[in-house]
Symmetry: D2
Subunit: 296 residues, 4 copies
């Protein structure tokens, strides 16, 4: 299948490579032309604009950093909707706010192009290994059409309901994750300060009602688990600044929906301070450093 | 074995009955004399004070509502330490602050009585079914001595380290639990408000990084899981006021230890408001009502 | 002077009437045509679009509900910049985010029109009495040019620095105000619960380090001050939903600036809940009801 | 008048000196004997216990660091109530929790001694200059009896109502103060980050609804006011750790009263973190450093 792919870099490039491996043909575009050149050597065709990238392909995939980028890449004068033939399926894998996802999809539909939002989790590691999870929002038929293509880049392809719900699932999950990571940080550091061995405490919590993914799979306390960022100085993993971005998206969405998210708003503040303290590039479990007297 | 049991009621009475079933002999005491009388009919000996209850038994178990009660029952003029023979093992199953647990155990040790703190989780249901979890703090030998007795009332007997650590494990676990329950409430209500089916959202979270016990086993959103308090009007379960009590204990312990617990302190405030709004007797998952416009 | 005024209603209409009283001639426009008709009877000329309203006048004033409205009224195909002659001073009295204020002013400048942002405080009462405070952002010369016109509608005309700083001053002041109102609510209700007479407590605070405008001029506890909303069931005054709008603006601005505002974010959450509880139309000092057991 | 004074140090010693200046005779005691010796050289009589210090004097004044100290100094075997003659007025100037103040006063009353609680504000500077403010809780007659003595050490002597209300007034005022100081820190740093001159912003706030003692008299932003701690590296003033102590007292009192204090609880957390970051000895306005990227 011939695919137009827009938005390259740490995530986009390995996603493209996996599509090539699955036998697809690629036409690629990025505003930063250098990012595309590497892929040209690996057999991709280069496009000179988003519109051109969407012209003559059977499906378009986008992977962009924020809502304004998505709006511009799809809707501007040289955007996807100017190039894509009516009926071309569009897949946006950016993490953006659900309202923008729904707006852009509505414009796409008006020009005859079915669109799904399909944000990912799994990070750069998952992109390289082809094991990403895609949370897909869109009509059932559009989801079914996108599924085989997404399977070329990921392992779990989950249907979340109508358009925009891929974004809702992702940002609401990540809000819970951020709060739970801070909860685990507070519980672990307090138990330790009160005299318990952190490993013993983690073992008890993990068979009890306090357990969560942050405590049993990604524990932030150094030395409790092997092969997690906490055991290698918080390198690798999912960056604190990326978590901050998702917390900003989710608290914005909550404001628009007039829905309180008290702990979510406070988690956003804690990650903002953590980032300002110079830890934004570390894994997001490094937020535990906010609770330790000797900071890294 | 002949056991002195002090502190009756919803938890104490079924614990006593299970000890009887396991073939122990019981001498019981409570400041509210009526609570003991029921047990007399079932074959327990009555004592007229804590000291007398501790006299001539092989082990003493206490189940009391708060730190001052524990201090008084053990240390007052008519307290356990006045009656217990040197060498008698003492087991306190109350949930109290770790400092009090350590203070009282030190006094007990000074009079020759080894003591463990052994707070429980599992609630009235677990007490009746004999399936409580005991989190035990104390020396290894004292833990081993207490274990067979505790097995008469519970299923999981966990050693948490030195004296006081049973309390630490319990209150730190419950702080994490409270925060995660609120996190789940915020995530579920926001996803729903943004247009997702709550069951679909829960299913995604529960196979993703946001999963926790509150989302996958005890989901607070009505209709997502069967056989949880959320599906029966938040009746039964673990009362919001009991969670408030534990949050008060843990934030006090954090203050004494000079350890920040930002989300823990906020969770305490949210449960205080929830209680003042008239929901204290409901299950603690009812905190989600704070996030729903039409309150129960 | 001939003035174009865009954005009518509770604030805009009395502002127009005061300009008429000061001898100005008015041309008015609102998307809701009915709002303008009342003013027609009072001697204003009607315009059929923002562009037309700006055509042939000596200055343009706008009073709009949000950032997207300002962007559209100034920059759209039928917007102010299409109609205003080069050199026409533009005054935007809307409360919006500082970035939008700066963006729009830059576009205006590019077409030769000097622009200031001049959000107000003082509410409907101040608009009617002509006693509004204007916080003005813009170059010194533009501020001086706008000042005599603003004096037709207000009493205090304050220069806050460059363009956008009127907005900054307003939303940062209101964030402090919201936090201090909640602080006063917490202090007053706690002192009362702990046994103090609220009037005695207020008198002490107001001569001590805890004093603030919310405690000494606008106390939220019923009966402490006369002639404040708290003494008439929280009617009149500055609506809780308007405070919520400003808190949303200021926390958005803080996010964009990557600046933590921990109490500000929590205040936004508290006002969101207060609004969802049905109190949005009451004066913003009614937030104290969140701290009283018997809610109004 | 012959006065027994218990609890010496930075506050107690200058208070004693002012009493001497006013012509009183002093008998002094502190558990740290060295603290009393300095005063002996200045003409005070030394006592060897609290009981002895209270024996044969016409009034007893205490100035102690915490609730357990007050309980012990008054109620222990060698305490004030063992030495004071029935009818001797007792004045406790410690800042402690209101419940302890009321408990101890009840015991004192039972032995015939009228007692008032009279915590101070004004710090070491006010103690030295004799300009302290005393917030007095107690019956009107007892307040009147204490007043002339307190005037030997302070300038404002305020009656707050019944026993314990001195403490209530002090800790509730200081909770408001802490929140307002953080509010001012957030407002000042955000306005500055958004491009306003901090002095201009402060000037606007201070004539507007956001004004408070922290903004107009004790502004935490360096360079805005002269002669405040912010303009000398946060030295001098009221230490952040003392504010933390008061916040701990007030949030404990709120818990006992089952009264939510959401921003108060968060302020306590922010000051705890500030202290752990190494700023506890600085003036409490240094909390603004939590909001500045380059920390002191």
């Amino acid at each position: 299948m011939k695919i137009g792919f827009i938005g390259l870099g740490h995530m986009g490039n390995p996603m493209c490579r996996n599509l090539l491996k699955h036998g697809h043909k690629l036409k690629v575009y990025d505003v930063v032309a250098d990012l595309a050149r590497k892929l040209e050597k690996e057999g991709c065709e280069l496009a000179s604009s988003a519109a051109e990238c969407a012209r003559g392909v059977e499906v378009v995939i986008t992977m962009l950093p924020s809502s304004p980028h998505v709006r511009s890449v799809y809707l501007s004068e040289y955007g996807v909707l100017k190039g894509a033939k009516s009926g071309t399926p569009l897949i946006d894998s950016s993490t953006i706010d659900p309202l923008t996802a729904r707006d852009v999809a509505m414009e796409a539909k008006a020009r005859g192009c079915p669109m799904v939002d399909a944000p990912v989790s799994g990070g750069v590691g998952g992109a390289e290994a082809g094991t990403l999870t895609f949370m897909v929002g869109g009509d059932a038929a559009d989801y079914e059409a996108a599924k085989p293509i997404l399977q070329g880049m990921g392992k779990n392809i989950v249907h979340c309901g109508g358009i925009g719900n891929g974004q809702v699932a992702k940002i609401c999950n990540n809000m819970m994750l951020a709060i739970e990571m801070i909860a685990t940080s507070e519980g672990m550091t307090l138990a330790s300060k009160l005299g318990m061995d952190p490993k013993v405490f983690a073992a008890i919590v993990n068979t009890s009602s306090g357990r969560c993914w942050s405590s049993d799979t990604y524990n932030p306390f150094p030395g409790v688990l092997e092969n997690v960022p906490a055991s290698r100085g918080y390198s690798g993993g999912f960056g604190a600044d990326l978590m901050l971005k998702d917390l900003t998206l989710v608290t914005d969405a909550a404001k628009n929906a007039k829905q309180p998210v008290v702990l979510g708003a406070l988690a956003q503040q804690i990650y903002q301070k953590h980032s300002n303290d110079g830890h934004g590039a570390k894994d997001f479990s490094s937020v535990i450093l906010q609770y330790m007297k000797e900071k890294a």
